[in-house]
């Protein structure tokens, strides 16, 4: 890997200063993704700013919700009693991801910024618009399996691989950010990610030097929470399709529903039209199938990815049946 600076700031302010001081800097939390990509030459930050000593590892109940420090590890977050009690969806999604060893290192902030597993992105010998803007996309016309069918563009079909972020989309998370001017802002997760369009290298709303300090979850909108992940082996595999559900029933009707999906989109996917199909209705197979049709209506099923439509619809229907039983 390329030689790089390594900073170990003690406060968020110092971390941001360190980052702003070098245009090619990157924050590093657990490093479970970044270090691999550095070894492969896919990412070559000139400076790494270690954000593990910023005191961002608390999980605290706040008014009407909970605030999760960006440095909280996936393991600690999954085990947290508040999370397990009120946001079990998140706990289950975390535990469905990676391996114990990786979860012990991976952080909340880092996981939100996890890069795609597209093998062409990870191969510096082939073209990739995300890795090298304007160079082309070797995945198009290549071997497709872990690629996106929703939110794609002719420039990029890279899939977002996170489980955690899918759950957080269904839970309406807000991302709290400190910026270079010393300000703090909060961005709804739905506004945090960017579709690839013709700038697939721009993945989030973050500006250089912006530091994620925490994630806030509002009180859950439903007591029925499910994370269903379908994958090629029983553990340590990325989702072929995953479904995150938060749902509440009232008088035999679906009073609220929030669904998010992994394994389908260029970002953790939420389509509020799917929720709208369901809300106010009585559960039925026909209704759930309609929700699936709505979800996949805009899908681009490139060769090798055709299976995702059927799999997503079946998974969605199954999860909804379970939630409304």
């Amino acid at each position: 890997m390329r030689p790089f600076d390594f900073c170990k700031p003690a406060t968020p302010e110092n971390a941001i200063e360190d980052a702003v001081g070098a245009p090619g800097s990157a924050f590093v939390g657990g490093g479970t993704n970044l270090l691999d990509l550095m070894k492969l030459g896919v990412m070559a930050p000139e400076r790494l700013v270690d954000v593990n000593r910023l005191g961002l590892n608390q999980i605290e109940p706040i008014e009407n919700g909970i605030e999760i420090g960006a440095g909280v590890t996936n393991s600690d977050l999954a085990d947290d009693p508040h999370i397990r009690q009120l946001w079990p969806l998140l706990s289950r999604a975390l535990l469905a991801g990676a391996s114990v060893q990786l979860r012990n290192k991976a952080t909340t902030g880092g996981n939100l910024l996890q890069r795609t597993r597209c093998p062409y992105f990870q191969d510096t010998d082939v073209a990739c618009n995300k890795r090298e803007p304007g160079s082309g996309c070797a995945a198009l016309g290549g071997e497709l399996r872990n690629h996106a069918v929703l939110g794609t563009s002719e420039h990029c079909i890279a899939l977002h691989p996170s489980d955690m972020a899918v759950a957080m989309r269904a839970l309406d998370a807000d991302i709290v950010i400190c910026d270079a001017n010393g300000g703090t802002k909060s961005i709804a997760l739905r506004d945090f990610y960017r579709l690839p369009g013709d700038t697939p290298h721009v993945e989030t709303a973050l500006n250089h030097g912006d530091l994620i300090t925490s994630v806030r979850l509002p009180a859950p909108t439903g007591d029925r929470q499910i994370y269903r992940k379908i994958r090629d082996r029983a553990s340590y595999a990325f989702a072929l399709v995953s479904v995150a559900l938060v749902l509440r029933m009232e008088n035999g009707q679906i009073a609220s529903a929030a669904l998010a999906f992994g394994g389908l989109g260029t970002m953790p996917w939420r389509d509020e039209a799917v929720d709208t199909v369901l809300i106010g209705e009585r559960p039925s197979e026909a209704l759930f199938e309609k929700a699936g049709e709505t979800l996949m209506s805009g899908a681009e099923l490139r060769p090798g990815l055709e299976f995702k439509a059927g799999l997503a619809k079946r998974a969605l229907k199954s999860v909804l049946m379970e939630a409304t039983r």
């Binding site: 070894k39 071997e143 090629d232 082996r233 029983a234 059927g310």
Partner: protein, 728 residues
């Protein structure tokens, strides 16, 4: 003194056989286990001689003529010592037992990923960075990269016809005619290929991760242009091989060349991606299988028509027919295998080459026939077992398949009445069971060993044999202990050094029986020397508790040695036995699976394997080998496969996050029964191979269970959820 044995015939009792209650066969903990789990065992890349430099291979990003664009710039980077492009570097790993250099050269790339340069620096990170900065231009070439479009090599075909198969297929009362496909597979050994090379004058010392040192020494000598006697290879610990380390690879040769050029030791560790590309994969296969049968399931015709691939210049062809030749009888047969030349990474031996994929496909076809005929799958197999080897008429040295099938059926609790698919459901899960026969040819290979009995009551075994994780250290200690009347902890076993007599090496499941027999012979030679001193027949000599006992005479062995050690050398040669008999190992695997009706996901609930492998040398390590094979079968059936880019053939799947070997959560309890067997055609030990048998039937048992569970027949492996879902 040496005792040589060539196996031309059945053992005639001239040489003693092991007892049934001694150290051989006992459930014994592996003697290197503690060192391995505590990190004390030193693997190739963990040798750090003074002045060690670090080399990183550079891969070709494309095909055709290659050119290093900026070698001078990279050479000038701080810490970089050498950018090596040498005609002697190898294109890919040597094939097993080659004993000579594989295809060499760096000026053109025959496959994407071919190593074409080595960058050496003072530390590994600098070397990796510099290799990354090195730009390679590939001219490009319009090579065939897919099985469907490649050309058949006329010199590599294999075809055997018996009777009139066309008529048999045409007139069949029942006919199964299906085509099965298996993808490229890799060994994925835990330890990556690595070498540390050091020259002392014209003598090369190579610490490497290799399986068969006697051949490897000749290969590296041929590659770098020195005499074999100038090479010493050390591989005392090898972190898995599975065939991928049978021959020397690019790390060994590049490290040796760079160390020579720089006058300093050089270490080359292949990155995981290089491991995928540079070392031989299991070929993808396409197999059309035709089974003609009478209504009762008795076979009248067998067709097995396969296509496999390899790079031009490679002599290896995946021998998918190997099990088909002798497993079932049929008067009419057409067995054909064609090799297609492709510019994908080279293919070679991967655990159970031939049977792993050939038996798997065939055993699925047998299940299809059982279903067509309405005959129980176990009975179908029993009805079609041959008396002698089909074709040749040779007797089997030992035939235990029927016993494995019936014994396995009983232990598993096989339900003969639930052979219709989709009969059992629990929630979203379909439950079903399946079975398959397992066969694997058995061989012996040349092997030598030396044993010394010292006057402190200990023995030392020395051979260049490797222990690739199978338990070789342990069983060789047990064999010497048994022969010399010692407890195994009194025997030191030294392996993996070409300064020792050449063992068989580890590969083709031959190691335990071949080198084990050489050790047994060396010990018999020592016994003969002791018997001579006591003027008795060696066969009447009993060694026990430090005493040599002959009739009424008992002498203290320490006194007899009088301060000197006794040394024995043993040499085994395969001989003509296999021209007279057909020899194989036998098994049956039963599996229960569940298939999710929503997602197509498969979970294996339990697996049961019954295996006849000759004499069991250590019931614990033998069981582990069988279980490891069964896990491989699970991966073959459900999760493993390399995808190649259709445009240039490059391996798209080349890390362990995307190449899915089964993880613990995928593997249920694996119940193994080893049927004790004494095959007299393997020499005085009566032992055979075990490392490869477990994989041969396990994949098919799982795939057949999937059909029984949900009615979906998967003929294109692996059975990933999307493939099952297509038919659910």
């Amino acid at each position: 003194m040496t005792l040589d044995l060539k196996i031309d015939d059945k053992a005639d009792g001239t040489l003693p056989s092991p007892s049934d209650d001694g150290p051989i066969g006992a459930d014994t903990e592996r003697r290197d286990g503690r060192d391995k789990v505590t990190g004390k065992a030193r693997y190739a890349a963990e040798n750090f001689p003074e002045g060690l430099l670090h080399g990183v291979l550079k891969r070709a990003p494309g095909l055709g003529r290659t050119r290093l664009v900026n070698a001078d710039t990279v050479r000038a980077l701080p810490g970089v010592r050498l950018v090596l492009q040498d005609d002697r570097m190898v294109r890919n790993a040597a094939q097993g037992t080659a004993g000579e250099a594989p295809v060499q050269g760096t000026d053109h790339a025959d496959y994407v990923g071919q190593p074409i340069a080595l960058v050496v620096a003072e530390d590994a990170e600098t070397a990796r960075y510099a290799a990354h900065m090195l730009e390679v231009d590939c001219e490009g070439a319009d090579f065939a990269v897919a099985l469907e479009t490649g050309e058949t090599d006329p010199d590599m075909g294999e075809e055997s016809t018996t009777g009139d198969p066309d008529v048999a297929f045409k007139d069949a009362e029942l006919l199964v005619d299906q085509t099965y496909s298996t993808p490229s597979l890799v060994s994925a050994a835990m330890e990556p290929h690595a070498a540390v090379a050091q020259w002392d004058g014209d003598t090369l010392t190579l610490h490497a991760s290799l399986q068969m040192l006697r051949y490897n020494r000749a290969e590296i000598a041929d590659c770098v242009g020195v005499d074999e006697s100038q090479v010493r290879i050390l591989a005392p610990f090898v972190g898995g091989g599975f065939g991928s380390k049978l021959g020397i690879s690019a790390d060994c040769v590049a490290a040796a060349l760079a160390a020579r050029a720089l006058g300093q030791p050089v270490r080359v560790v292949q990155s995981r991606r290089h491991v995928f590309e540079v070392n031989t994969r299991r070929s993808e296969t396409s197999q059309r299988i035709r089974l003609a049968a009478k209504l009762d399931g008795v076979l009248t015709g067998i067709g097995h028509d396969a296509r496999v691939s390899n790079l031009p210049g490679e002599s290896f062809s995946e021998s998918v027919l190997q099990g088909t030749y002798f497993t079932y009888a049929a008067p009419n047969r057409l067995l054909r295998n064609n090799l297609v030349r492709l510019h994908r990474p080279a293919a070679g031996s991967v655990r159970a080459p031939g049977e792993a994929v050939g038996v798997t496909a065939f055993e699925i076809a047998m299940d299809e026939l059982a279903h067509e005929a309405g005959v129980d799958p176990v009975d179908l197999r029993l009805r079609n077992l041959p008396e002698t080897e089909p074709g040749s008429g040779k007797p089997f040295s030992s035939h235990r398949l029927a016993e494995c099938l019936t014994r396995g059926r009983d232990r598993f609790g096989w339900n003969e009445t639930s052979r219709q698919p989709r009969q059992r459901r629990e929630g979203d899960w379909w439950i079903g069971s399946g079975m398959a026969a397992a066969v694997r040819v058995n061989m012996l290979m040349d092997a030598e060993a030396r044993v010394r009995l010292t006057d402190d009551g200990r023995a030392v075994v020395e051979t260049d044999m490797t222990d690739i994780g199978t338990g070789t250290y342990t069983i060789l200690g047990q064999i010497a202990a048994e022969a010399l009347g010692l407890s195994p902890d009194k025997v030191d076993v030294r392996l993996g050094d070409t300064a020792f007599p050449p063992g068989s090496g580890s590969g083709g499941s031959v190691g335990a029986a071949s080198t084990g027999t050489a050790v047994w012979l060396a010990c018999q030679e020592i016994r003969r020397q002791l018997a001579d001193q006591m003027n008795c027949d060696a066969n009447d000599l009993v060694l026990r508790h430090g005493q040599a006992i002959c009739g009424n005479v008992s002498r203290d062995i320490t006194d007899m040695l009088a301060g000197k050690a006794l040394s024995g050398h043993g040499a085994l040669a395969p001989g003509e036995a296999l021209e007279k008999v057909k020899q194989a190992t036998w098994g049956a695997v039963f599996a229960e699976v569940m298939v999710n009706d929503v997602s197509g996901e498969v979970r294996v609930r339990r697996m049961e394997g019954t295996f006849a492998i000759g004499r069991v040398l250590n019931s614990r390590t033998a069981r582990s080998q069988a279980q490891g094979g069964m896990v491989w079968g699970l991966g073959l059936a459900l999760t493993e496969g390399v995808s190649h880019d259709a445009r240039d053939g490059h391996m798209v799947t080349r890390d362990l996050a995307e190449y899915h070997v089964p993880v613990n959560a995928d593997v249920p309890a694996l119940d193994v029964e080893l049927l004790e067997d004494r095959d007299d055609w393997t020499g005085p030990l009566g032992a055979k191979g075990v490392g490869e048998l477990g994989i041969c039937g396990s994949g098919a048992a799982i795939l057949n269970a999937i059909h029984n569970a949900c009615g979906v027949r998967i003929r294109d492996l692996p059975a990933t959820p999307d493939r099952i879902l297509l038919y659910l």
